[in-house]
């Protein structure tokens, strides 16, 4: 007797994971991000010194055996501060991207699904937000809310909304013409259920790509705002703020600025490369 063995079908998540693992660049990028996430979590155990402990007698020591990345003006260990900085900087990226994605997806869903006046209003709002290029919108919002770490996360988050809303709206416009949406509607399924069960899940893959790509942007913008003195305030160990401290010491102690910058570069580069790879894997037509 022969038994028919059903081939285990891979779910979309496992399929995606398998493809990411098969792509060398994506794998390296993912590994780098995971490494930094691990550093952020394990900072208290990994850091050889207290990142906030001031040692005046150790001011501006160059990198060496005891202080791998040297010390800053106050004698704090830069290596320990870079490790702790991963906590703040990675978190800023997550919160900002979370705000952008949550608000943008909802706006895009509503505008795309309902159309009409609502769509018009949302799109005019998005057009207006897009008139503030790059970091300008975030700067404007920080001007409004005042400097500070939380305000920077909100500002950078709002700064990214427009891209998500446009992307999701475009996906929704094509998804709502699909037969399965038509079928659901014709048997009397409510709008809310159609949106959350049929439209949203299908609109999400490109959002994932955008989230990965905008994570790097969010981290860069937030670090930039901190660098300008509008974000994290001393003594908080945040990479942008550390670079800002290092700026005036560049002539005598370049290591104070070099190492936090390398950390930012590694994370942003990894996020961008992962985003590129995800885009190629999920939807080669999608270009942002």
């Amino acid at each position: 007797m022969t038994t028919v063995q059903a081939t285990p079908s891979l779910g979309p998540t496992r399929l995606l994971l398998r493809r990411v693992l098969g792509n060398a660049t994506a794998l390296a990028a993912l590994a780098t991000l995971l490494l930094f996430a691990g550093i952020a979590l394990a900072a208290p155990w990994l850091a050889p010194f207290d990142p906030y402990q001031v040692y005046p007698e150790r001011s501006l020591m160059p990198p060496g055996r005891e202080h791998l990345m040297g010390t800053d003006l106050l004698g704090r260990d830069i290596f320990s501060r870079v490790l702790y900085g991963a906590r703040v900087s990675l978190l800023i990226g997550f919160v900002s991207v979370g705000i952008s994605a949550a608000v943008g997806v909802v706006l895009g869903l509503l505008a795309g699904y309902y159309g009409g006046l609502l769509d018009n209003l949302v799109m005019r709002l998005i057009d207006t937000l897009m008139a503030f290029p790059g970091i300008l919108l975030a700067l404007t919002i920080v001007a409004l809310l005042g400097p500070g770490l939380v305000n920077v996360m909100i500002a950078v988050g709002i700064g990214g909304i427009a891209n998500y809303a446009r992307l999701v709206r475009a996906s929704v416009l094509s998804i709502k013409e699909e037969v399965y949406v038509e079928a659901a509607r014709s048997v009397g399924v409510r709008d809310r259920r159609i949106i959350f069960r049929h439209v949203l899940p299908n609109a999400l893959p490109p959002v994932l790509v955008l989230a990965s790509m905008s994570y790097g942007w969010a981290l860069l913008s937030a670090a930039g705002l901190s660098f300008l003195g509008l974000g994290a305030t001393p003594p908080l160990a945040e990479w942008g703020a550390m670079l800002s401290d290092g700026r005036s010491l560049m002539w005598d102690a370049p290591w104070t600025a070099i190492f936090p910058g390398i950390a930012i570069l590694c994370v942003v580069l990894a996020a961008n490369l992962l985003g590129d790879a995800l885009r190629d894997i999920l939807d080669p037509r999608l270009r942002l």
Partner: protein, 307 residues
């Protein structure tokens, strides 16, 4: 074509109105009374604050205030800076050429260099050259500009003493800021040019051109390149905006006067009229430039029509 121009012009009206509304709202969304916070630094009496409220029209209904603000903006009157007591418009006009010089210098480097890199990578797709070029452009979009600026200062100002780390006025002052600003843009331009060229090279007319026995050189530069450049041209407007916002940080690192350093100082100083003016000027500049790029583009490519 006439319809395209009119529709495109009309489509930017709500955007400009939206931008003006946001800068207007800045004044009201800030906590506290605008008049009181404006006079806070001079320690004014409550009578003086009340007088300023009347002078600014803050005692009038909101829609009247909004209308008044619109009229002022149209007339080019953006109020007076709290920190310097100078008219905001005058201050903006003074720094604008400095920022534009930096932005155009960066564009002038980034567009040709980025295009050459992108096209070269596309033609040699999947070779070592391609990988290196793709790597450089990924680095370009990922490197923090303020960090790159510090590295260049360390190398070219501190160690080699080739270029000054700050100041402005001469060409040598422009070199390092331009390089920093251009590096990010090169990455974006190169990525766009590469993707576009790869797409074009897959088209039927390229295959036809090759099949007709034309030299590879002629196929690439006569048939593929002009078509691959179209998306690069449309990017110029977008890049312009990114470069202006990028110049904000670059100006600060190199202690240059400009729109960005002025805006950031105004934010730190809580100089509201100057913040409003600088934000408004930047956004309107960006919208106008994109409009011009679109119109030019519509004129060049007859296929472009307003949806």
């Amino acid at each position: 074509m006439g319809r395209f121009i009119i529709m495109r012009l009309l489509s930017s009206v709500p955007v400009v109105l939206g931008v003006v509304t946001i800068t207007f709202a800045l004044m009201y969304l800030l906590p506290g009374d605008p008049a009181a916070s404006m006079l806070a630094r001079s320690g004014a009496s409550s009578e003086q604050i009340a007088a300023l409220r009347v002078e600014l029209g803050l005692d009038q209904p909101l829609y009247l205030q909004y209308f008044h603000y619109l009229v002022q903006v149209v007339q080019g009157n953006l109020g007076v800076s709290l920190a310097s007591n100078k008219p905001v418009t005058e201050m903006l006009l003074e720094v604008l050429p400095k920022t534009l010089a930096l932005v155009f210098a960066a564009l002038l480097i980034a567009i040709p260099l980025g295009t050459v890199m992108g096209v070269t990578a596309a033609v040699r797709q999947n070779t070592l050259v391609d990988r290196v070029l793709v790597g450089i452009s990924a680095l370009g979009v990922s490197v923090p500009s303020f960090w790159l600026a510090l590295l260049l200062i360390l190398l070219f100002s501190v160690t080699l003493r080739w270029f000054p780390a700050s100041g402005q006025g001469e060409l040598r002052h422009l070199v390092l800021p331009t390089l920093v600003l251009a590096f990010g843009a090169i990455g974006t331009v190169a990525r766009t040019a590469r993707t576009s060229m790869i797409d074009v090279l897959k088209q039927d007319y390229i295959r036809t051109a090759r099949a007709s026995g034309k030299s590879e050189r002629e196929v690439l530069y006569r048939h593929a390149l002009p078509n691959a450049l179209v998306p690069v041209v449309t990017m110029i407007g977008l890049q312009f905006g990114w470069l202006i916002s990028g110049s904000f940080i670059v100006e600060t690192v190199f202690s240059r006067q400009g729109l960005g350093s002025m805006l950031i100082n105004a934010i730190l100083d809580k100089d509201l009229p100057l913040v409003q003016g600088a934000v408004l000027a930047t956004a309107i500049l960006y919208v106008t430039l994109n409009l011009l790029v679109d119109l030019t583009y519509g004129a060049i490519d007859p296929r472009i029509r307003y949806e």
